[in-house]
């Protein structure tokens, strides 16, 4: 048993490496049971329970440095908000995040475009790939191949015959421009190549969502927003007066101050989450949820316990669970399984070495330090 304790550390290195390589190679084939934790449920259920058309505020307070951790959850939450047809108002406290966050909002809104696609079905993957090459090189010839027209809306999880919606379509189609084709995909033993003929936006700026941009002031800004949104943000990022956005049938209809929002979601890399709680929800009373980096999460749990926030999405794990809940597997989903397996390995190693240690007995002098 002694040797188990003095095991060459290179064996451990090898175990870790093999496991992660396997998990990465078999990424698509690994089905991971996901049990969402109650903090994540807290955010999801709160948003899911809102009636369509409720105004919500989304504060995205991070910058490219925390992008890897926060962008997946930001997108996941946005997708959920859009899918529920809520009226979304976006903003940020961070000047460095201004354009970056805007891009996240816009591209997510684009995912809800109605896509008219020509579906060309092939029997083999080879034929489909060849066709794709043809679309790239000789679009005219490619257009002559017989096709069926269908409408797809990935955001709303809708697709017409001959294809059926499945989550894979999301990553396949979300960046395909008009006139271009997506990579072939297999469904029911057939291989389909989808060529986008037209994109019809279904989410309209100013009506379904808006982006107020950035304003400095942190806590003071939040207090001002609690008094009057129009004074805190006289105009949105593009110069449209916010009063105009509050007109009939517009995104801010019936909203003039923070308390009028039905929900606040904060995706934050810094202290702004706490500021939103203390100066915002505590003072003006509205439910809110927080998404933050894994390091910050423990600091926020006391607020969850005291019910000042409905839930927390913490780091990659939170994003992963949320992606599962809204059935859109994205970046978090592709990385978390490998991470998890390596993590479990470490736990097993610790258990194993302690069992071995106890069996050898503590009386013997320790071997390798």
């Amino acid at each position: 048993m002694r040797w188990l304790l003095d095991i060459d550390r290179r064996i451990i290195f090898l175990l870790v490496l093999v496991l992660i390589v396997l998990a990465t190679v078999l990424q698509d084939r690994i089905e991971f049971p996901i049990v969402s934790s109650s903090p994540v449920d807290g955010v999801y259920d709160a948003i899911d329970g809102l009636p369509a058309g409720s105004p919500v505020l989304l504060s995205m307070d991070y910058d490219p440095a925390s992008q890897a951790e926060l962008e997946p959850m930001n997108r996941a939450v946005l997708r959920h908000l859009f899918r529920k047809d809520l009226r979304i108002t976006g903003m940020t406290h961070w000047p460095r995040g201004l354009n970056f966050v805007e891009q996240v909002v816009q591209s997510t809104a684009r995912e809800f475009d109605d896509l008219s696609v020509e579906v060309r079905t092939f029997d083999s993957k080879k034929a489909a790939t060849d066709h794709l090459a043809l679309v790239k090189t000789k679009p005219d010839e490619a257009a002559k191949v017989k096709a069926q027209l269908a409408t797809v809306n990935i955001g709303r999880e809708r697709a017409e015959a001959p294809i059926q919606y499945e989550p894979r379509l999301y990553t396949l189609l979300d960046e395909v421009e008009k006139g271009l084709a997506a990579e072939p995909f297999e469904q029911g033993a057939k291989h389909h190549v989808l060529t986008v003929v037209e994109r019809k936006p279904t989410k309209e700026y100013g009506k379904d969502y808006c982006y107020l941009g950035v304003r400095l002031g942190a806590a003071i800004l939040i207090i001002n927003m609690g008094q009057s949104l129009f004074d805190a943000f006289p105009a949105d990022k593009y110069g449209t007066p916010t009063r105009e956005l509050a007109g009939q049938g517009k995104v801010l209809e019936g909203v003039s101050k923070l308390g009028d929002f039905k929900y606040l979601m904060v995706v934050a890399a810094g202290i702004s989450a706490e500021q939103w709680i203390i100066y915002g929800s505590q003072k003006y009373g509205f439910p809110m949820g927080v998404g933050c980096t894994a390091v910050m999460a423990p600091d926020l749990y006391p607020y969850l316990n005291s019910k000042q926030i409905t839930g927390i999405l913490g780091g990659a794990k939170g994003a992963w669970e949320y992606e599962a809940k809204i059935r859109v597997p994205d970046k978090a989903t592709s990385r978390v399984p490998a991470q998890t397996m390596a993590h479990v390995l470490v736990i097993l190693l610790v258990i194993f070495c302690n069992v071995a240690y106890l069996m050898v007995g503590r009386s013997k002098p320790p071997g390798a330090r």
Binding site: R9, I220, I223, N224, Q227, S228, D231
Partner: protein, 492 residues
């Protein structure tokens, strides 16, 4: 005709007056009902230099009033002349800008009238340095016709500024700009002239400003009080940071006082610090094995206190190394730390009476960046197999990489860091670890210099005070006495 006309006019006038009066009387109740609630009327209004700032702003303060509501706005206007013209500098709902909420300006000292309002406005937002520069540079006739037109268009503004600031201000601005060789306003954006804008700002701010307050709702407008005068000044003390200042005086006093006492009373009890006792053991082992000792500072620069403490430890360790006649390699990542370490090691050898043993190449600058440093130091560990590794300073992710590699070579490892995120890794992989504060105590402990030991005693007094504050403060705030928590707020 004339008589008639005057007659009829008088008649018409009388009739009109009568009718109007009657109408007014008849409609009066209705009109009063349609009229919205009266505007808030603050009882007093004053202006003064904004405290705790760098002389950029002036403050206005006024009493809270009845009927304050979001629709009714307070409007502040400023001017450089008592008679105006005034320009609007602030507009906000009358329910906001309460003084008690303005901790950004006052820190904890917002007290007094709970309903009073406070707003700090920057004259530079109204009278912009760019405008001053434009006017100052535009001087003199222009041959170009378009320039003349442009000048004419700007004339009202120029006249207004001349009226507000006087010719002397423009002259001062002109001199400043000429000194900096600025010829066009766009030049102000150029590199090397950023300070000119500061100078222009100082020229604009160098005068009293006049402030008026009005209450505005829709078309209605009512002035509050008289025109007030204030001047923006550089403040000498930031009262928001008073608690910080007092804390510094207290801790500083405790440390310095104890150092003073230690001079007359050098015998002092000091608890054992295992990690430091182990230094001699490690050096002894290295001597026995004929292998070198490796000393690594963390990643921080020389301006970081942990690094300073690490260099102090380095000095003490080197003295011992010289005594033991062992070899030491000191690896660095920051060039300043590297140079300082070289000096420290050299002097320590000299101090130990072994200047011959000093070799400048023992202190090496191995790499300039975090992970190439890791790669290089790991390489040194694998190839030279030091018998002891000493890590002192502020570490980041490299801590575990170094310590785990060091452990695999079988070296005795002693670490000391105040970077609490890395402490877990040192604790688990090193033989001895100085946690947090112990790093700062290390040089005192090793040198046994009474003055340094005295400062440790001072630290203990500080800790005792902190413990007392925590315990008493929690007790007080639990029974509802809040002022202790106010005392420790941080304002910037």
């Amino acid at each position: 005709m004339r008589g008639l006309s005057s007659h009829s006019r008088a008649l018409g006038f009388g009739l009109g007056l009568g009718l109007g009066l009657a109408l007014a009387l008849a409609l009066a109740p209705a009109a009063r009902a349609a009229e919205p609630a009266p505007l808030p009327k603050p009882g007093w209004f004053k202006a003064f230099d904004t405290p705790n700032d760098a002389g950029q702003k002036i403050s206005a303060e006024w009493a809270g009033a009845e009927n304050e509501r979001v629709e009714a706005k307070y409007v502040l206007s400023i001017s450089t002349r008592k008679t105006g013209p005034f320009a609007e500098a602030f507009r906000g709902p009358s329910t906001t800008s309460l003084k008690v909420e303005d901790t950004a300006t006052f820190g904890p000292w917002t007290g007094g009238d709970a309903k009073a309002h406070h707003v700090a406005v920057s004259p530079l937002a109204t009278y912009r340095t760019q405008t001053l520069a434009a006017l100052a540079l535009d001087d003199g006739p222009k041959a170009n016709a378009t320039a003349t037109v442009a000048m004419l268009l700007r004339l009202p503004k120029r006249l207004q500024w001349l009226h507000l600031f006087g010719k002397e201000t423009l002259d001062r601005a002109r001199r400043t700009l000429a000194d900096a060789k600025v010829k066009r306003v766009a030049d102000l954006e150029a590199e090397g002239v950023q300070d000119v804008e500061k100078d222009l700002a100082a020229i604009i701010l160098d005068r009293p400003f006049y402030v008026t307050l009005e209450v505005v709702e829709g078309e209605r407008r009512e002035p509050v009080g008289d025109v007030q005068e204030a001047r923006a000044r550089d403040n000498a003390f930031n009262w928001k940071k008073l608690n910080n200042f007092l804390a510094m005086l207290f801790f500083g006093g405790a440390v310095l006082g104890m150092i003073r006492r230690a001079r007359s009373n050098p015998d002092m009890y000091l608890r054992r610090i295992g990690g430091l006792e182990a230094v001699d053991e490690a050096l002894g082992r290295a001597t026995e094995m004929g292998k070198p000792v490796l000393f690594a500072h963390g990643l921080e620069t020389m301006a970081n206190i942990s690094t300073i403490a690490a260099v102090n430890v380095l000095g003490e360790v080197t003295k011992r190394v010289a005594k033991f006649d062992t070899k030491m390699i000191c690896v660095n990542n920051d060039p300043v730390v590297f140079a300082v370490s070289q000096e420290t090691v050299k002097e320590a050898y000299l101090h130990a009476g072994r200047p011959d043993a000093y070799n400048a190449d023992d202190v090496i600058f191995v790499a300039a960046e975090q992970f190439s440093y890791v790669a290089a130091v790991s390489g040194i560990m694998m190839r030279q197999q030091p018998a002891a590794n000493i890590y002192m300073g502020y570490f980041y992710a490299e801590s575990l990489l170094l310590a785990e590699t060091g452990a695999s070579t079988g070296a005795i490892q002693i670490a000391g860091t105040d970077s609490y995120t890395q402490l877990p890794f040192f604790i688990t992989t090193c033989d001895y670890t100085l946690m947090g504060e112990e790093l700062y105590a290390a040089s005192a402990y090793l040198s046994r210099n009474p003055m340094l030991l005295g400062s440790l005693k001072g630290q203990d007094i500080g800790k005792a005070a902190l413990m007392a504050i925590v315990l008493v403060g929690t007790l007080l705030s639990t029974v509802g006495i809040e002022w202790v928590t106010k005392l420790i707020e941080v304002y910037t």
